[in-house]
Symmetry: C3
Subunit: 458 residues, 3 copies
Amino acid sequence: MAETPRRAAGRRLQLPLLCLLLQGATAILFAVFVRYNRETDAALWHWGNHSNADNEFYFRYPSFQDVHAMIFVGFGFLMAFLQRYGFSSVGFTFLLAAFALQWSTLVQGFFYSFHGGHIYVGMESMINADFCAGAVLISFGAILGKTGPAQLLLMALLEVVLFGLNEFVLLSLLGVKDAGGSMTIHTFGAYFGLVLSWVLYKPQLEKSKHHQGSVYHSDLFAMIGTIFLWIFWPSFNSAPTTLGNGQHRTVLNTYYSLTASTLSTFALSALVGQDGRLDMVHVQNAALAGGVVVGTSAEMMLTPFGALAAGFLAGTVSTLGYKFFTPILESKIKVQDTCGVHNLHGMPGVLGALLGVLVAGLATHEAYGDGLESVFPLIAEGQRSAMSQAIHQLFGLFVTLIFASVGGCLGGLLLKLPFLDSPPDSQCYEDQIYWEVPGEHEDLAQGPLRAEEPDTQA
Amino acid sequence: MAETPRRAAGRRLQLPLLCLLLQGATAILFAVFVRYNRETDAALWHWGNHSNADNEFYFRYPSFQDVHAMIFVGFGFLMAFLQRYGFSSVGFTFLLAAFALQWSTLVQGFFYSFHGGHIYVGMESMINADFCAGAVLISFGAILGKTGPAQLLLMALLEVVLFGLNEFVLLSLLGVKDAGGSMTIHTFGAYFGLVLSWVLYKPQLEKSKHHQGSVYHSDLFAMIGTIFLWIFWPSFNSAPTTLGNGQHRTVLNTYYSLTASTLSTFALSALVGQDGRLDMVHVQNAALAGGVVVGTSAEMMLTPFGALAAGFLAGTVSTLGYKFFTPILESKIKVQDTCGVHNLHGMPGVLGALLGVLVAGLATHEAYGDGLESVFPLIAEGQRSAMSQAIHQLFGLFVTLIFASVGGCLGGLLLKLPFLDSPPDSQCYEDQIYWEVPGEHEDLAQGPLRAEEPDTQA
Amino acid sequence: MAETPRRAAGRRLQLPLLCLLLQGATAILFAVFVRYNRETDAALWHWGNHSNADNEFYFRYPSFQDVHAMIFVGFGFLMAFLQRYGFSSVGFTFLLAAFALQWSTLVQGFFYSFHGGHIYVGMESMINADFCAGAVLISFGAILGKTGPAQLLLMALLEVVLFGLNEFVLLSLLGVKDAGGSMTIHTFGAYFGLVLSWVLYKPQLEKSKHHQGSVYHSDLFAMIGTIFLWIFWPSFNSAPTTLGNGQHRTVLNTYYSLTASTLSTFALSALVGQDGRLDMVHVQNAALAGGVVVGTSAEMMLTPFGALAAGFLAGTVSTLGYKFFTPILESKIKVQDTCGVHNLHGMPGVLGALLGVLVAGLATHEAYGDGLESVFPLIAEGQRSAMSQAIHQLFGLFVTLIFASVGGCLGGLLLKLPFLDSPPDSQCYEDQIYWEVPGEHEDLAQGPLRAEEPDTQA
């Protein structure tokens, strides 16, 4: 480690100072602005006359907990596939998401629940904060292994603001529907991260190539992430939808879409693999594309067949993307995409947005009945035709791509600030720069069982 | 790998074609038959006058999610105990269960919710589909490591149909109670798999013996599966029971039964172990037998003591089975049972069915009060005596054993089709045939930390 | 292994006999005393006129399942950080907690739900039993690696009784509020374990030092525990609180407190680490202190800012404790604290109790409105002033410390009984004494891929 003492001292202070500064700032803003909402406040809740069973808590908390598990277990372990970057994958996910939850509570609070000088928080704001953390972690996936924790916190600081702004434009100004975030979370997070990775392009990254792969057990740790994301994705897409049939239908559509993306991923992975062998990268990632692709349309009357078809398409596109497009992305377009977020979140997110355009455009009063009010309120109230809603959905995708691209550029410039703790090209994908790392194999290999063979090599 | 190019080409196409064919077929059947039910359809839900809080979703979804975690996390990782078969254990579980969810939606739909030419789906059909996937994975456990993915998909294709048929005979025709599936899931899945394994008997399997054990970390991965199965088993048994006291009591009984099977497993494992040492195989598996053994009776008035006694017995029988019976099963009866499903699902399933016979036979109007209607509707309505219900339960076990045995034979013949991708006896329990497998140890072992020690051995 | 045959034979019998004895005793006590309560009994539930949707099950079961996951997955894997003690960490957690659930059902039942000669059980008793198991596992953390399973069962036998007694004194006699157990669970469990560890002081423990650290993958297994504890902690603190706003607010406060302890842990860990490197021990443990510190006050009107401040403080104190205090605790006070429970549960628990004193003392009718009745019933009914409640809270902490210390002494004396299976000082933190342990690396390392390189070293 040919590191100067000054560099080490700088690193020693950079992360702690930034953590303390950000935590101090959010704490002050919390003190000034954040208050319990009607559902969480002891006094407010008892005004009026409602049963405890009516508290939003009982309708959303189980879904929220599943989302929470996806953010911290799912994303964290999914990214732990790298052989020597598990501490950072799980640990920085933990740090980034914890900060993003606080910061997005404030940012989204200003946009959505700012009344009389205060932001009111409860279950819905917690779900939205976790969603925003999801977008930040998607971007993290694109630059995984190539940035330090202080850089990542700065990225989150910027991205949370732009995420909130983009979401506000889509949901509140344009009246776009996007419950599971095909646009606001997946498309935004992916292209923000990809553009940022493009700005941070590391020409000498092949010096770290020997650490860029997985080992046997790191692939199994990653499968923990995959499986938790897969099983809980129905909760993700349905967490913010309208109660009753809305949540129920969203869950059902997502469930079937994921089964289809799993089947198409296995099919395509074996088809394009060497000697028909399956590739863990595909199974870990592309099998999840079925959750992304119905993010916009799962709450709509997509039909169970529609869910299967969408999932099948997403798994196919995603697997082919890993095999054929990611190498081109790096060599020709100079975008180094560590986790392949373009394949898992980018393309399926855009497809999901387009699927939303289609399904919204096909909405009829017959198909939705009195449920139209909750899925497409503007159509139900006669303010928009289905075609107009479809066009607004399409425009929402366009806006998201703009916000993500401009944001990724800004983020890249921010992270290139010279004093930041960026790892050198030859030490990427490597925990040791940021973590105390124990040996890989336990002493036991030369321990008790072999205690009677003293230094046979010597 | 002395493999001919033709064999490799065949393998390359077998799995993809089968996945695409099956997915195409289920997609078409979904398009023709599957529709949202009243609880998931936007229009249907708003007919009549019910509160969103009444939607089945809020009563079953948390339990469903626990079941979903058991199927994909629990079974997947439990089977990852083999040192070099973790990718296949987790990956094929993923593939098989994803297909089984679609296929059993159709099969069970034709049996239970086929009205006016359509199958109606919602939370209950999702729970039932996951249950059916559970039975398929139990059978997978018996033949783990000895079959290829295309074979497994064909097994699922057959088993899902027979599972649905057997369950329909028991629950609908015979009026048998079996909420947690001691018979329909565990007994059926185990004996189907065991008979299938008997048909597929591999006489040269000792050539793969060096891969049949675990390594230290693979045993810890397996414990992830065990613990998730253990904690969520109360949700499994209670997911389809009647609301209110029914779900609540089922959870309670299962919870206590599992604590007792855990204690008896540790007791027996140490008692029969070499030098009193505990065996991970017992802890990973037999400790779960308490969940299996109350699958039929947990919704009944088993009493908390009854739950403890049942769990204790199941843990004991299961542990002794691993120690003494599994070797005999292989050497004398020529059934190679990789995961010991006979000990975890077979014997405890049969015991659970018999316990159901006993507890049903003891049912009285006094003990169940007005709750008799929901637990034993035929007794409550005077159509059956408790004794008659008990006899029906016993007959249900008999029917299940017939269906499982005949099904396992058929399955075995199907999987012996010569063109299928069966691994040779010397390469069982080995990921490398089906997966791209990275190296076991990271380059770091000879990496940065030791970079300055060039080839000291040389 | 210089073990006499007699010692091995003793070990072979000790654990099985104790398991069977304890299981037999609890089973008999269950038969005599334990009955379904109104919510779980088929007959009782149908007396009166209530909807199935009113069953306690639907309000508490999702939270219970999260708590259950924390106990078995969270604690089990968190303690699996040791390189060669993963089987014992996960396995003994499993055994101890399973026994504690049964035993505390009886002990707590006698204190809280003993009517007409029977103990009535349901969701609340299950949550309380899991909480008690949590306290036992905290104590286990202090002596991890230094005791055998029979010793641990005896510890649980004693600790469960004292836990129940202490909790009864606090909650029922003193009217103390402590929903998430800063005092009753964390402070009690930590100091019970620490005093016990002090009594069991092992002067020659440095002989086992080479096994006391982690390896790369054992640290990742431990992170599974950490993350599951972290995400589900809001459910832990809220599981027993009053319905409606009570559970909702408790969740919200715990959620924010944990984000702040995570940020302060990363800040402090990097600040005090060598070259600014982060330490996995801190991230695995201190990041959770935010959950402990609001255990008493999270159900109160702590305010979101208060939650952040509390979490920040707890993460800071805990990280500094690991860095600076644990070594002193061992060298000067002769307390060997394997998992650092003093830093994660002891100090944050005491801080949490004091925070509860403060927040209770600040309670006003204005802030709580009609919700005062459910949070501080004695204040609402005019039996106590806020100041008096605060003093009672403080006295509760004092009582807890007394119970824990005296209990830990008694426990230590009990575990020192000479015939018990204590590991020798030189074989601590070592699975092999109690488990059949497979090799660490799979045969594959010298297997197929390298089959053609015979013994190149020789």
